[in-house]
Amino acid sequence: MIKLIKIPSNYLSKLVTIIMIILFISIIFTVSHVNAQSQEAISTISCQYKGGSLVVIHWGDPKSFNPDSQVDDALFIIASQIFNKLINLDVNYNIIPELATSWEVSANASIFTFHLAHNVTWHDGYPFTSKDVRYTLESIKNYKGVMYGFLKMDSLVSVQTPDNYTIVVKYSQPFPAFLGFLAWYGTFILPEHIFNKTQYKDWMDPSIPALTKPIGTGPFKFVEYVKGSHVVLEANNDYFKGKPCINRVTFQIIPDPTAALQAFLAGQGDLLNNRPPTTEIPKINSTPGVIVQMRPVPSRWYIAYNLLNPLLSNLKMRLAIAYAINRTELVQKAESGYGFVARGMYPPAIQWAFNPNVILPEYNPAKADALLDELGYKKGSDGYRYAPDGTKLTLRFTIFQGAEAEAIATIIKEQLRKVGIDVKVEVLEIAAWENKVVKQRDFDLAMLDGFQGPDPDNMRSRFGPGAYLNMANYSNPVFGDLLNKAASEPDPQKRKELYWKAQEIMANDLPYLPLVDLVAFFIYRTEWHGFYWQLPGIAGLNVLERVWWEKGTPVTTTTISIPTQSTSVTPSQVQQGISTTMIIAVVGVIIIVAIILLIIRRRGS
């Protein structure tokens, strides 16, 4: 009964061989399938030199250690070392992976699926999972985090966690700008196991220990914070991208820009994170051992015309003012040449969204004079223009305190005087300025700067009808429509066309006049390398995880090469890791089967 069909032993061995081959091939396919999924995996940190303690001269005290609850610019660079976001922006404002190694966007851009890195632990040893991401996003919604509006939390339907390493974010309408805003600000992932306890009223409850001793997943762990003086962080040896090359990062807080610069030059600091007056840049550049690098940033100084003012509601008046302003002179005198004449209606630094065909009025005082004459303002004997009824043409120019703003305003006042417009510059303290200009809209001309990235949807918050910052009271329904459509258009090409059209319309209406495009300065000592501006596509903004010190101990082990400047992430190393394991497993299986074969053969003969 047992051996009804007698299979000869050579047939048996052939059968086993065939099965082995099929097994082998299927394993290879599995390996390549796994590789394809992780093709956006992150390059691990590798160091040429180990050791070193970086000192950053910083400009201000953090308000708390919850980076998502309120606007806290002083905390941002510190939080970027302690925490991670799901995705991050690199120095060119392109999106790069962080805790999310890959992601998919649904066809209508309303569902976002993120695949999370596996070997991540919190600084207290607890494992990181999708629960932490869900807690963070839901808290931004429930506790009105700083990104509540930008992340359109009103339209958030659900955040689901199908497993420990997958997170699905569903919106009720298309939201193509979601990834850009998620990578930007106030979206650091917080530890659910510490924050989510019933005895806490919310995520800023004073009894939460993590608010004074933060726990994150980032490259550096919190050590101490002496208020007003310094913050000390030390390397996280279990960081999921690999151990950082340096041991410590210390932020020394010196608010006064001159004192900060002097402290840096005297050797007290290695990286200067307190923007010095632009007049000092040549001197800093020529200091031995110090490097100054510049990069254009999507931030610009621009004038707002109060369109509700009868004088300024006339486009010809706005054009006249625009023709009278010499933007080149502004860059040279107010920024000491460190800046660019503003082009177009959106900063060129966000390249895909910037419409280069939109030309702003050029510097042409003759045209300005002609337009003002046409409007009926004749030049009096004192050089200023007067209306037919005898009133002087006077405009208030309301700005907030600061050396740059005041310098620009002084120059513009002089430039407008030349065409006969009397400008009264009003300098207010920033909170008072916000109250008067933004809230009460009590001004004629106002000027401000500000970050307009990472996504052109930022335009809606600055210039859109009904927006809080739309102090000019600009309300063109076609413009508003275009911005709304672009905000929910999933096709990137169509989005770009909509934003380009919106810029054209805004240039024709001229409610705002861009003046100067800003640059960011990176000021640091030559012995330090691996900063994020040197590693586009790899390191996120402000993240110091890959910094190394050339005076550290050299690392003697070879093989792994340092990821260089090439475009995107290099998956080769991670792929190598996975296939090596699989090949070992396959070889093991082959050896076992071969042994079984030999035994059968022995028995057979």
Binding site: S229, A259, Q262, A263
Partner: protein, 326 residues
């Protein structure tokens, strides 16, 4: 007997002045537009409604006015000056944390300014009209008119950047943090430039007052009498000194009373974490609880400083305590 009674009277007076200051503070808080909770805990009402309710109850904001005054005074005397939502800490704790640093700067610089100012003033008055006198007076005038932060930056550039004798800024050396005794030494080392700046700013006041008092006293009748009797100049000056010491002591008390916020600009420039810096940050962030808390603290310290000085005065100048009795 007269002295004890005088002291007792002054203490009772000081107590009532403090109560009056607290009540004035309370009126300001209640009369200002907006919800009074913003002066007690900032924007907390928007972000954490339950905690806000708890604080409203603690400060009696839901009770009638007369009850509120007593709750307010009661809380202040318990040391509760309000709560800062930005820092998630009680205001009194924030102030006390930073007080040692500020006191180090202010008391040291005031004592040095007091001593140096008086010595220079006496010397200058002795040599009244000479070249030495004129040059010392001009130098003091120069320091008096220089803004504190400008002088701080100048000293920072000369001694910190160019001569490299002292550190440029900061409380401690963050590159090589020290422990224990060496940590205190490090802090003292970092405090030299701020203290020198503050001393140079404060000294001219003492100098001028002492110099003028001495010059004025030395032409008083009793000085002529001493000269007529035949005392030599230095003995006369000792007597004059006894009289001249009173105005600088008053000045010292006033300065110490304002010590808490007096070094604000210096703390900002040198990056020192003191109470003045806390006040400046709070003002630009509109953190009302901290602002009100610090102002109240200053008011109380000024009253106490004046009390101490009045007692000292009574001891030094018999005329004052004797006046009270008759």
């Amino acid at each position: 007997m007269g002295l004890e009674k005088y002291i007792a009277e002054r203490i009772i007076q000081a107590f009532f002045v403090i109560i009056a200051v607290i009540i004035i503070n309370f009126i300001i808080v209640s009369a200002a537009p907006g919800d009074p909770i913003q002066f007690i805990a900032g924007d907390i009402a928007i972000n954490s409604p339950e905690f806000a309710t708890y604080l409203r109850h603690k400060w009696g904001l839901d009770r009638p006015l007369y009850e509120r005054i007593f709750t307010y005074i009661f809380n202040i005397f318990q040391g509760d000056l309000g709560y800062s939502y930005r820092y998630l800490q009680p205001v009194s704790q924030l102030i006390l944390e930073r007080l040692p640093v500020t006191l180090l700067l202010m008391i040291t610089s005031n004592v040095l300014a007091f001593i140096i100012g008086i010595l220079l003033g006496l010397y200058s008055a002795r040599k009244n009209g000479s070249f030495v006198d004129t040059s010392i007076t001009s130098l003091n005038f120069l320091f008096w008119s220089t803004p504190s932060f400008l002088l701080g930056i100048i000293l920072m550039m000369i001694f910190g950047v160019n001569l490299k004798i002292f550190p440029v800024a900061g409380l401690i050396d963050v590159r090589n943090p020290k422990e224990g005794f060496w940590l205190y030494l490090d802090i003292v080392y970092h405090s030299v430039l701020p203290i020198i700046t503050l001393t140079l700013i404060t000294m001219p006041l003492y100098f001028k007052v002492v110099r003028d008092t001495v010059i004025q006293q030395s032409v008083e009748e009793y000085a002529y009498m001493y000269r007529a009797i035949g005392f030599n100049e230095s003995k006369i000056y000792k007597k004059v000194f006894r009289n001249a010491i009173l105005p600088p002591v008053t000045l010292f008390a006033i300065h110490i009373g304002f010590a808490v916020a007096g070094a604000a600009l210096i703390e900002n420039v040198f990056g020192w974490p003191g109470v003045g810096r806390l006040l400046l940050d709070a003002i630009s962030a509109r953190d009302y609880p901290i602002i009100m808390g610090i102002y109240l603290f200053i008011s109380i310290t000024v009253v106490l400083a004046n009390l101490i000085v009045d007692i000292l005065y009574a001891y030094l100048d018999p005329r004052i305590r004797l006046q009270k009795i008759s």
